[in-house]
Amino acid sequence: MAADPVPKLTRKDFVADQDVRWCPGCGDYSILANVQRVMPELGVPRENIVFISGIGCSSRFPYYMNTYGFHTIHGRAPAFATGAKAANPDLSVWVVTGDGDGLSIGGNHLLHAIRRNLDVQILLFNNRVYGLTKGQYSPTSELGMQTKSSPHGSIDHPIDPISFALGCGATFVARTIDVDAPHLQQVLRRAHQHKGTSFVEILQNCPVFNDGVFSEVEDRKTRSETALVLEHGKPLTFGSAGQLKGIVLDHGVPKVINLRDEDDPVERGVVVHDESHQTRSYASALATLKRPDFPVPVGVIREVEKACYEDMLQDQVNHAIETNGPGDLNTLLHSGDTWEVS
């Protein structure tokens, strides 16, 4: 039977009729525009797309998407998404969260959604600050960051979202940048293609409370030096001509080496990126790369296959029906010992 043709949609079809209420210059505008641009390319009927968010600036996202959307409670979006996807595996479910929503109040749910490997996309907008509550430090804020709630500097060690996701056993982990439209779109397409939980960290600028936090990688002029653009099967090199550098693993520990333009990076020992390692050690090593000693890896860090929760759940239902026949209430109520009173 031929599937119903999906009507050709455009970006406009995904723009809701609500006024967008983020601050001027917020990185979220760029993310929203790119998500709206990618949606028509996915071949998913609009009515099957669901955006689910928690609380925070990022979590206003669903209101602006002309799809099904659910703005839920703080930190719990992964749990709501779990229920929606488990209930109806045909839906394309997108979770939008932030560094506070996803890694602070909702860290537990993020962990469990990822480990269950539901086929959902989780977009974590990381601006390393609490925006909606007006500027307190977040779980990804640098040690020592001075904010209203940390006038003497934050004494919380920050968590790295990528390492967190890998630790949870994520089957798809990627990082991208709010203003790098082609890269962001490519990562979104890959995230959607992946069967299983796709965790995407999007580096995002907060012009009001943490302006310029990712300016090195957002700025095209410095990006080639500060970002390590990952491509499957390509060596880990960065920098511009005359100043090329590569990443080698020395006893499992990443190190930067200088390359001459004429060098074959692979011969020099530069690591060739492989998304598909079953073990997490390579991806975890990549996740440790940080400024200023290293460039920031962007792109798909890991993609492996694992069974999805909603499929296994549906399989159990189907198997039970095959084995026992469809449930009959009368049979259930009369199961076990019964007796007649006349």
Partner: protein, 612 residues
């Protein structure tokens, strides 16, 4: 051949007590099954510690199972027991005070060593004293059981684990019960020498009763005259689980149950999980918050959504339930109440969460609250909750309790046709008109249930203050007032669709006893006792606690005095007083134990004897 006399009794209460590892709950359950099959009315009360295996032989580890059975209609597990079977000194000490005077006490005499007496806290052997006031029967259970199992390839430990079935066999003989159901159950459960051992000791116990001179008399309890039909035993938790499954069938929509394990609610999750062939999906979440959240996510996606928990876990769900109020999605949230606060006593019962259910979320967050009153009523109440949730597009809270959860009663199996079908109807696209997620059915004020996957109905919902009809985010003062009023009105109108409360006994008079939930049995029994003594006492029991049935105010006003027994500090009494300005007298008990009939009878007497 010893001739033994048979004595006919109308009403018997017995209790099995032993270590929590002695199999008391199993022994009690099997005796209950045989008693049900003998046609008696019955009521049970399992009472066990929260610890899985407390130190053996200590008071902390004593587990008890009480069963009251009768040739008449009964409502409670009985205040005192006629027979106590105590497997060790600690079990004796923990339960002696509940044995009626001159009642029978069967003890495992093998266990009355100096060491175990000390462990139980006895400074001297209690048997000499007890024998003067009770019919004390010493049975060397441990050695008789070992003898019966001689020759089987079982370790001594394995043999000793069978001794509860020796006691069961003896009790079956004593009260003229068959052992067929137990034998069937054993054959399905065990194999080889373990099966053989249990069957052998069961029969040995029965034969021991027949031949020993310790029991000159045995008893018969004629079957009760109860309504014709097919019956089974059911506990409150099983009834909740089956009600959940039944709701999916009657409403023609798959069920999603999200839960996190917690005593005494976990059995509901276990039982529902067994019935995947009904299309039900169960989800064991990482915590109670996720359980409620995932469940609401499933409701958004179009499933019949239910979450189940007990006190501490229920409270964790309140924020999510508040969201369900705000977005007006159907959800059933079941709380099998237990004694608190904090961890409290996980296996003990209480009715402490009524006000928390009605008022326990921030701001004005109205939710219907229902409470079943008997184990079997759990089945019907949960079905009603689902229908209400979908008809009115609202979360509905169901308050069971630890007593209902584990107690068993004979239950007349309902005719499936009589349960009433109410297939779910989802919204679909209506021509080209723009879909309005908060448009409403005029009578019920319910909004449409429009689920993802439906073309043309794409819409956004969320926790922010919204405009009626469109659902657009609006923070205006007038709008907020309007939405608060509207949500309150929607729940208030449910009163129009629930039956008026019915008085049992005289329609008006001196005293009305009003209760709710799992205390029904004790209240009914107390009122019956007073009525039999010629006193005029009426009684009403509420299933609907929010909103109240429409006639409650008028009904209360017809009585000079109103008494409200509750296993809390007077929460329903407070609501009734506040709502109807009636001088409701609270009778409160919070000991982790259900009401005894006598306690309520005494309270009724006190009120009737007070002249003002």
């Amino acid at each position: 051949m010893i001739t033994k006399s048979i004595l006919k009794l109308d009403d018997v209460a017995i209790r099995f007590a032993g270590d929590s590892g002695d199999g008391m709950q199993l022994t009690g359950t099997k005796f209950t099954d045989e008693t049900a099959l003998a046609g008696n009315d019955l009521s049970t009360y399992p009472d066990f510690p929260a610890e899985i295996r407390a130190p053996a032989g200590t008071m902390a580890g004593v587990s008890g199972y009480q069963i009251h059975f009768s040739s008449r209609d009964i409502h409670t597990p009985a205040d005192t027991v006629d027979l106590l079977v105590a497997f060790n000194p600690a079990a004796l000490r923990a339960n002696m005070e509940d044995v009626r005077s001159q009642g029978m006490v069967i003890i495992n005499s093998d266990s009355f060593t100096k060491k175990s007496l000390t462990r139980a806290g006895y400074s001297e052997d209690p048997r000499v004293d007890l024998a003067t006031r009770y019919n004390l029967v010493e049975v060397p259970l441990t050695s008789l059981n070992r003898e019966a199992l001689h020759g089987l390839s079982l370790t001594q430990r394995e043999m000793d684990r069978c001794k509860n079935f020796f006691a069961l066999g003896l009790l079956c003989w004593l009260y003229g019960r068959s052992m067929n159901a137990t034998e069937r159950w054993l054959s399905g459960k065990f194999k080889g020498d373990v099966l053989e051992g249990n069957l052998r000791t069961l029969k040995a116990g029965h034969a021991f009763g027949e031949t020993t001179e310790l029991f000159p008399t045995h008893y018969t309890v004629p079957s009760a005259k109860i309504e014709a039909g097919t019956y089974r035993n059911i506990t409150g938790n099983t009834a909740l689980a089956w009600g959940i499954v039944a709701a999916g069938e009657q409403m023609n929509n798959p069920v999603f149950l999200g839960a996190y394990p917690i005593t005494p609610a976990s059995e509901v999750l276990h039982e529902v999980a067994r019935h995947r062939h009904f299309g039900v999906k169960t989800f064991q979440a990482e915590d109670e918050i996720a359980a409620a959240s995932a469940t609401i996510g499933a409701a958004f996606a179009g499933q019949l959504a239910v979450t189940i928990s007990s006190g501490p876990g229920f409270i964790l769900k309140q924020e999510a339930i508040g969201l369900a109020v705000m977005v007006e999605l159907p959800l059933v949230a079941i709380n099998v109440q237990r004694a608190g606060p904090a961890t409290g006593s996980p296996t003990k019962t209480e009715q402490g969460d009524l006000l928390a259910s009605i008022f326990g979320r921030h701001s004005q967050s109205p939710v219907p609250v229902l409470a079943p009153s008997t184990p079997g009523d759990c089945f019907h109440t949960v079905i009603e909750a689902f229908k209400m949730a979908v008809e009115f597009m609202t979360p509905v809270i169901v308050l069971s309790d630890g007593y209902l959860a584990n107690s068993a009663e004979p239950w007349k199996i309902p005719d499936v046709e009589s349960l009433g079908r109410q297939p779910v109807v989802f919204a679909t696209q209506d021509g080209d008109s723009k879909f309005q997620p908060y448009s409403r059915v005029p009578e019920t004020l319910a909004r449409p249930w429009a689920i993802p996957g439906t073309p043309g109905l794409e819409h956004r919902i969320g926790g922010l203050t919204k405009e009626d009809v469109t659902g657009n985010i609006v923070y205006g003062a007038e709008n907020h007032q309007h939405m608060v009023n509207l949500r309150a009105e929607k729940i208030a109108r449910i009163a129009n669709s629930i039956p008026p409360a019915e008085v049992e006994g005289p329609d008006s008079g001196e005293l009305l006893v009003i209760g709710w939930g799992g205390t029904r049995g004790a209240i009914v029994a107390a009122v019956e006792e007073c009525t039999e003594n010629g006193q005029e006492v009426s009684q009403v029991h509420l299933r609907h606690l929010n909103p109240f049935p429409g006639n409650i105010g008028e009904l209360l006003g017809r009585f000079e005095k109103v008494l409200c027994p509750e296993l809390n500090e007077g929460q329903l009494a407070m609501l009734l007083r506040a709502r109807y300005l009636i001088d409701v007298q609270s009778f409160s008990k919070i000991s982790g134990q259900p009401f005894k009939v006598g306690e309520i009878v005494d309270q009724i007497q006190k009120i009737l004897n007070t002249k003002d």
